[in-house]
């Protein structure tokens, strides 16, 4: 007998007024027995009279009566309502109408039967509510298992938790593919294994033969010779060593489902499973600390086979296997599927964070990529992870943020399936044709996935990527041998496989260019350490709690304070805390990492950095300790080098730190090469304080030494009279004319087809433009004009402006150039300020000289509004300076250009100078003021 609170159904026409109670207290009710009578206000729908002239009378609300019937059997224990009471929907939801003493609450059901009373739950009648809805939570691994009610689920979880606490254990959810094993169907592996086995056999035979010979030493000498001959012939496959522990099983490929019926099954194919190095030790040593569950995106048959390989007697997982078939979602994994209410003791290890929606319980592992380039054979329908960035070699304007591989589609529901499928390269097949309209949406999805899956498998079977790679490798080896190169081995250590595109190379070197595969992987060791730490902390907190509560009870304190201190330890708190210790104390400035057009706070890189305890800066301040750059020569990088005490490192460092949960030493490959003195000088010059680069230039013109003094000048407003004539000479210092020429050409080409070639992000901005223009015709409009113009036109204008120079008011009207944001755009985080800078990049993608020259003016603008209060720090060269925080990529370009320069620069210079006129008055004032001391 259980007491169940019964609520009024939401389907009644609220508000209702109770007229009488039909089933009095302690009366027995059955399904369908009237519990109470109520009345409600009913407004009939407005009727339209056929004659439009006669207006239909407004519908009259009338009082109607109805009754509420019981949906379950039992005895009424207590009523919480009384006749005459008026009840609204809200009240009905919040407070139970009555409590019922039930024979069976049907809290656990299986196959439509209550597991306690054996009653059929599927019976439907006029009441419309079946008892099946009372147990809707599936928390068993197997999809055929029972479902439970929320109450029952909590009870089971509580029991489980108590048991685990007693055994000082936590729960570990383990992913299979690329986390603890790597699987492939490439038949090449089978051949290699066969070769290896044949080799072993021959070796064994030979050993046996030798033994025989030793026994009968005197007999014949001929045999001996032949044996040694064959010895030289035998050549083992270079990959055999690594393939020794690869397991093999046959599995029928997933039959694509058409119209709900599986198509004829194909031949079963061989699957090859490579356990991650150290797996058995890993599992054995975790067995006492964790209750382990498997949660994989593979099919049930596959999961069982793999577990048969890694856990042959079921001592680790013991049937706790959850596969894609049981999961209920094809693209996401949810802790709630197994632990619906309490996930405070659950740790997850998986190579993909996105499928978990970046759960705080997740310990992300570096994907295991043993069969090089195969990837996850069971994740072909998931969105492909973007390549990790930060590879110095291939930095480009299109580089993706480092952490985007951690990016998640994050719309956790299953509706993400369709876009996800679209993203998968294997699902080239179009959506099912309309003839299959009778299939439900889920069936269609399943069919698509099965098809994609089988396609992927087939392609692997046919294309044999490994054989290809080995061939290439052999070729390369030959070439290398020809060149007689020693080949320095990169220190890859832990990071083996961290970068898929690098993985290949790494493997090469490790085996002297011989074997494609490699056993170098220590990821499980690292994960093991983390898991141990989590376990230690959890039970340390638990121990504290116990001690506390004992102490509290001793002192007889109140319950409230007890509960307060007695906070249940939670893995979802411990893991983020662990993470945040990794980069604690580090203050990062990103350069060329965060894509344009995204507010930096919302970017993945930013989020990751915060998650791992680092603080992020928008621009180079004194607190910044690390500049993380995706390419060389960006403005921030140069500036950081100039500043000296800041570590300037590749994004690879950042990625690796995050992947390994370790503050790696900033040295070796991670460091950006020091730029040449000249480049640095140029930045000095450009960045000169007060940023009066303009003034500085002028000063130069006045005969000051080249850019040298800028360092001392830091913080003081530039000197100079504002005479623009000097500019050209100043920039001449460090121009690489060839590069400049190239850039100019590139710029010209780019301006012509806006957005066509540019990087995507910039394109997006381009789309925004018209709107922006409307919003801020003043500034944005000019920006646009500038970009839209042809270079020629621009130059022509420049001449005009030069002429106009000196007549500020006049030239102002002609001015068409990008202007920096206002100071608050520099400082604020608002999304708005992204646009101008981003746009500028688009509009003026590469006009190096122009940028350089535009600088002074920009700076002045800024100063004007900031009243020169911020001397050196903000005043940077190039328009990038103002929006430095966002424009990551942009500033790179500008800097490169700044360090070189463009042809025809004189013209552009004058353009700039004429631009200056806009702020001329102020500028003059300012320079006059600053001139004083100088």
């Amino acid at each position: 007998m259980t007491t169940t609170p019964i609520y009024l159904p939401e389907s009644l026409q609220y508000p209702i007024v109770i007229t009488s109670i039909a089933a009095q207290q302690s009366s027995t009710v059955a399904r369908g027995t009237k519990l109470l009578h109520y009345s409600f206000e009913f407004t009939p729908r407005r009727t339209f009279s056929p004659d439009p002239a006669v207006k239909a009378p407004p519908p009259k609300t009338e009082k109607r009566f109805s009754s509420w019937e019981s949906t379950s059997d039992g005895v009424v224990k207590e009523w919480h309502l009384r006749p005459g009471q008026r009840i609204t929907l809200k009240e009905a939801k919040e407070t139970p109408a009555l409590t019922l003493l039930e024979e069976c609450p049907h809290s656990m059901q299986i196959a439509g039967l209550c597991t306690q009373c054996g009653k059929d739950m599927t019976i439907t009648d006029y009441i419309g509510i079946t008892d099946e809805s009372r147990a809707g939570i599936r928390m068993t691994h197997d999809a055929a298992g029972p479902t439970v009610s929320a109450y029952e689920a909590r009870r089971i979880e509580r029991e489980t938790a108590d048991k685990l606490r007693g055994a000082r254990k936590l729960i570990l959810i383990v992913d299979l593919d690329q986390t603890i094993v790597h699987a492939t169907v490439d038949p090449t592996v089978g051949e290699w294994i066969a070769q290896g086995k044949a080799y072993e056999n021959r070796m064994a035979e030979k050993a046996a033969a030798k033994a025989v010979k030793v026994a009968a030493l005197s007999k014949d000498d001929d045999d001996d010779e032949t044996a040694s001959d064959s010895d030289s012939e035998i050549e083992v496959n270079p990959n055999w060593e690594m393939l020794k522990d690869v397991a093999q099983f046959k599995l029928a490929p997933e039959a694509p489902v058409r119209r709900g019926k599986p198509v004829a099954r194909e031949e079963p194919c061989d699957y090859y499973i490579k356990p991650r190095p150290g797996l058995s030790t890993f599992l054995t040593s975790l067995k006492d600390k964790y209750e382990m569950h498997v949660y994989t995106m593979g099919t049930r048959a596959y999961a069982l086979q793999v577990c048969n390989v890694i856990d042959p007697n079921g001592s680790y997982f013991g049937g706790r296997i959850l596969s894609r078939d049981d999961s209920g979602s094809l693209t996401m994994k949810h802790i709630q599927r197994l632990f619906p209410y309490n996930s405070s003791m659950v740790v997850i290890i998986d190579d993909r964070a996105d499928v978990w929606g970046n759960s705080p319980n997740l310990v992300k592992v570096v994907p295991y990529d043993f069969f090089v380039g195969i990837g996850d054979i069971n994740a072909t329908f998931l969105p492909k992870l973007p390549d990790p960035v930060g590879n110095a070699a291939e930095t480009s304007a299109t580089s993706t943020p480092p952490s985007e591989r951690l990016a998640s589609p994050s719309n956790g529901s299953s509706d993400s399936t369709v876009p996800a499928l679209a993203a998968s390269p294997h699902t080239a097949s179009p959506a099912p044709p309309s003839t299959e309209i009778d299939m439900t949406k889920g069936e269609v999805e399943a069919a698509i996935i099965a098809e994609a899956q089988s396609k992927a498998v087939t392609s692997q079977l046919e294309e044999r990527p490994l054989a290809k790679m080995q061939k290439e490798l052999d070729k390369e080896e030959e070439r290398e041998e020809a060149e007689k190169e020693g080949g320095a081995q990169p220190a890859n250590g832990h990071l083996n496989g961290a970068k898929e595109q690098n993985g290949h190379e790494h493997h090469h070197h490790h085996h002297k260019g011989k074997a494609l595969l490699s056993n170098n992987d220590w990821e499980l060791e690292r994960v093991w350490n983390i898991l141990h730490e989590v376990h230690r902390r959890f039970y340390e907190a638990e121990g504290d709690n116990k001690a506390n509560s004992v102490a509290m009870q001793g002192k007889g304190k109140q319950k409230g304070s007890l509960a307060k201190n007695n906070k249940v330890p939670d893995v979802a708190v411990i893991i983020p805390a662990l993470k945040s210790e990794v980069l604690a104390g580090v203050r990062i400035l990103f350069s060329s990492v965060i894509p344009l057009g995204t507010p930096p706070e919302q970017s993945e890189a930013w989020r990751c950095a915060r998650e791992f305890g680092a603080k992020c800066a928008m621009r180079l301040t004194d607190e910044v300790t690390h500049v993380v750059a995706a390419k060389e020569g960006t403005h921030k990088v140069l500036e950081a080098f100039h500043k000296g005490n800041v570590k300037v490192i590749w994004t690879k460092w950042f990625n690796d730190c995050i992947a390994l949960w370790k503050h790696l030493e900033e040295k070796g490959d991670y460091l950006l090469p020091m730029p040449s003195k000249r480049t640095l000088d140029s930045i000095d010059a450009a960045a000169t304080p007060g940023s009066h680069a303009g003034n500085e230039l002028n000063g130069d013109g006045d005969g000051r030494p080249k850019a040298g003094p800028s360092v001392e000048d830091t913080g003081t407003p530039g000197t100079g009279t504002g005479t623009p004539v000097g500019t050209p000479r100043m920039v001449e210092l460090d121009l690489d004319w060839d590069a400049a020429q190239d850039e100019l050409e590139a710029f010209l080409a780019e301006t012509d087809d806006e957005g066509g070639e540019g990087d995507e992000k910039i394109d997006e901005d381009g789309e925004d433009e018209p709107g922006d223009e409307d919003d801020a015709p003043d500034r944005e409009g000019r920006d646009k004009n500038f970009g839209a113009r042809d270079m020629d036109e621009l130059l022509a204008d420049d001449e005009a402006m030069e002429v106009a120079y000196g007549e500020p008011s006049g030239s102002k009207s002609v001015l068409k150039r990008p202007r920096g944001g206002t100071p608050d755009s520099t400082a604020s985080d608002s999304e708005d300020d992204v646009t101008p800078s981003a746009k500028r990049t688009k509009l003026a993608p590469g006009p190096s000289a122009l940028n350089n020259i535009l600088t002074p003016d920009e700076e002045t603008d800024e100063d004007e509004e900031m009243t020169g209060s911020k001397p050196g720090s903000i005043a940077l060269s190039g328009p990038g300076a103002e929006n430095e925080d966002e424009e990551e990529e942009e500033d790179g370009e500008e800097e490169e250009e700044g360090s070189s320069a463009a042809e025809g620069f004189g013209d552009s210079a004058s353009d700039d100078e004429s631009d200056d006129s806009e702020d001329d008055d102020f500028l003059n004032e300012l320079s006059a003021a600053s001139d004083g001391p100088g």
Binding site: I110, A111, L113, T115, G145, P146, N313, G314, G318, G319
Partner: protein, 170 residues
């Protein structure tokens, strides 16, 4: 419960089978078609005992196939509420365990297990154990069926071992 029941089955025979071996073929076809199936009305058809009447082959116009309405006697197994049966334990989990009673799968929930028997997730294989008894995969148990649900082609059942003389069978 087991019954001997007279049942009918309709066999369509292709003309290529018409000939001296036809009866033998019809018998085999009958066995293959009905044995091991489950009908909601009669339960699982365990075995065909005898063929009462092989039927007259009526040739259908249009296809040329012969239609035989075969009458046969078979052993059927239909579980009933309240029936006590023996079975072999299959999967065991924290919510209960499954018992294979011949072709029928019965679920015994942890509510209907003696409270003294506790689920032990750390045992391998997982089990319910008390001081003197243990229920794990392949254990023989006696249980009472507390409820069944009959589909057109499937039967589900719930069992209990929380009564006298039920549980592990030595």
């Amino acid at each position: 419960m087991f019954f001997v029941k007279e049942l009918t089955h309709r066999i369509l025979l292709h003309p290529s089978y018409f000939g001296p071996q036809m009866e033998k073929f019809l018998e085999n076809k009958l066995y293959a078609d009905v044995e091991g199936t489950c009908s909601g009305a009669y339960g699982y058809i365990i075995a065909v005992l005898s063929i009462v009447d092989i039927g007259q082959g009526n040739v259908l116009s249009g296809t040329g196939q012969a239609e035989f309405i075969t009458v046969y006697r078979a052993i059927v197994f239909k579980p009933f509420k309240g029936e006590v049966v023996d079975g072999i334990v299959g999967e065991v989990n924290k919510m209960g365990f499954f018992v294979e009673v011949g072709p029928l799968n019965v679920f015994v929930s942890n509510h209907l297990i003696d409270p003294e028997m506790k689920f032990d997730p750390n045992s391998n294989p997982p089990s319910y154990a008390s001081q003197d008894q243990i229920i794990e995969r392949d254990t023989h148990v006696r249980l009472k069926i507390v409820g069944t649900r009959v589909d057109a082609t499937e039967i589900f059942a719930i069992g209990t071992i929380k009564e006298d003389h039920l549980g592990v069978v030595e």
